[in-house]
């Protein structure tokens, strides 16, 4: 491991250690924060008992759905929009300001349209992640070197072949950047919706635990979400880095 990596590990250890000490001696009260070791024990207990497995599966499953839809729709839309200059120019201001829009305000409307099941939450997750994927896909498509497209034409490749064999592989690292955003946004969409109005899922359970001062449930759930999103992100980042390395860009 690199020197910087070791220092990072050391810093995390110091931080956790300090937290542990402060909670033990009562500087931070147990109602606000738990000692790290207790959080881990609670996490283990919760997983072992399987009490919340259904909620976990529901949230992660829905977020997964939202992610897949956001990325596929996003990439396809990106490919289409890239070819239509007027459309892209018109949508540009929308893309630039999209993330300040309070998307959760559409939640009640979505419930009315799609019913009380999982669909509204997935829809919100998609709504949030979709634009990030489109923007990054467009960016990647912009950067495909012209000379590669000329090579494709010289070799008699049709539109679909060019897209699959040349354009997408070339734009892949940038598309992965969009995918990383989609991971976070799918989770935000689903969990946020569960906070606001739901009868199940991790967001609901966290909210319920918070209202009942049940730190033993709340913290493990939060840790699980943090760990999941950071790990998935790291996996995608590794992939992205290896793609860039192969091209000598890293």
């Amino acid at each position: 491991m690199t020197k910087a990596g070791l220092i990072r590990l050391a810093l995390i250890a110091v931080l956790l250690g300090a937290l542990e000490v402060l909670v033990r001696i009562g500087r931070i009260d147990a109602l606000t924060m738990q000692a790290p070791h207790k959080m881990l024990l609670d996490l283990y207990a919760m997983l072992a008992s399987g009490k919340l497995n259904k909620a976990i599966a529901k949230t992660m499953g829905n977020a997964g759905f939202a992610f897949v839809i956001a990325v596929s729709l996003g990439v396809i839309s990106g490919l289409m929009i890239h070819r239509m200059r007027r459309v892209r120019e018109t949508l540009d201001p929308l893309f630039a300001t999209y993330y300040a829009i309070p998307v959760f305000a559409f939640y009640p409307l979505l419930i009315l349209l799609l019913g009380l099941g999982d669909a509204p939450q997935i829809f919100i997750g998609v709504m949030l992640g979709f634009v990030a994927v489109v923007v990054n896909t467009l960016n990647g498509l912009d950067r495909v070197p012209r000379v590669l497209l000329k090579t494709a034409r010289v070799n008699g490749m049709n539109g679909l072949e060019t897209a699959l064999k040349i354009t997408l592989p070339s734009a892949a690292p940038y598309i992965l950047t969009g995918a990383k955003f989609a991971v976070a946004y799918s989770l935000i969409g689903v969990i946020g919706a569960e906070f606001i109005m739901s009868t199940g899922g991790m967001g609901y359970e966290i909210s319920f635990a918070y209202n009942n001062f049940d730190n033993a449930t709340m913290y493990p759930l939060i840790i699980m979400i943090l760990v999941a999103s950071i790990s998935i992100n790291m996996v995608i980042s590794r992939w992205e880095k290896s793609l860039l390395k192969r091209r000598g860009l890293q």
Binding site: T90, I101, A105, A184
Partner: protein, 249 residues
């Protein structure tokens, strides 16, 4: 007005028309049970914004947003600069920033609520944590990517470190820093609103949450319209400023 600015405004016009058309169409499909027509929304908005009630909530949200934005911009720039200038520090801390950026911060809300309690500080905290990381990351990269030849030139001219930062590094990095500020602006806004939805009895976010609970469609649609409109206009203005700055780079 430059041709590209004119084009942007024309496109905004088209986009607005399309959105209005879709809105009207959606309303025709769904009806008053979950939506209001654009016209009805405008009328309701005109009435509501003149009430003192609205003014109080607006003031509350504005206060929280400005504070959150100040903290996000101030800290973000400072962190970004320090890490951008010191290679070793950025090697250590950049992965932390990236990890924090990738986490759905909404998960941290309960913790923030426990730490700050309900009220203004929680809202400001929500807003700030959303904006600080992208600003820091963009600034970090912008400073790091200043062309080495410019730094060499500054050294050859015998400029002090502070002068170099002020007259060479900052102007050179400004376009990219500003792009980060734009993102920070949007995210801090949404963070503050979400904070108000969950942590407050006052402010526009609270009004929205309340309206959702009471199924007060008038208020829901009006607030969505107002907030989207504000975000849109602010976003365009920032975009134009960003273009202006980049044109000189």
């Amino acid at each position: 007005m430059s041709p590209s600015t004119r084009r942007l405004i024309v496109n905004m016009g088209w986009l607005t028309l399309v959105i209005l058309a879709l809105w009207q169409g959606l309303y025709a499909l769904i009806g008053d049970i979950a939506l209001r027509s654009p016209l009805a929304t405008l009328q309701f908005t005109a009435k509501f914004v003149t009430t003192p009630q609205f003014a109080t909530h607006l003031a509350e949200t504005s206060k929280a947003f400005v504070l959150a934005l100040g903290i996000a911009v101030g800290s973000g720039l400072a962190i970004g600069f320090v890490l951008g200038l010191k290679r070793f520090a950025s090697d250590i801390f950049e992965p932390f920033l990236i990890a924090i950026y990738s986490v759905p911060k909404i998960t941290l809300y309960p913790i923030l609520l426990l730490v700050f309690g309900l009220g203004l500080s929680a809202k400001v905290a929500f807003g700030a944590i959303h904006g600080i990381v992208p600003i820091a990351l963009f600034t970090l990269n912008a400073v790091r990517n200043v062309k080495p030849v410019l730094l060499k030139t500054a050294r050859v001219m015998g400029l002090s470190s502070t002068t170099t930062i002020r007259t060479v590094i900052f102007p050179s990095a400004l376009p990219e820093i500003f792009a980060g500020l734009r993102i920070g602006f949007s995210l801090t806004l949404i963070g503050t609103l979400l904070g108000e939805m969950f942590a407050s009895q006052r402010g526009l976010g609270f009004l929205l949450m309340n309206a959702i609970g009471l199924h007060n469609v008038d208020v829901i649609v009006m607030l969505t319209f107002l907030l989207t409109g504000f975000a849109g206009i602010a976003g365009i203005v920032l975009l134009l400023i960003n273009r202006r700055i980049t044109a000189q780079a």
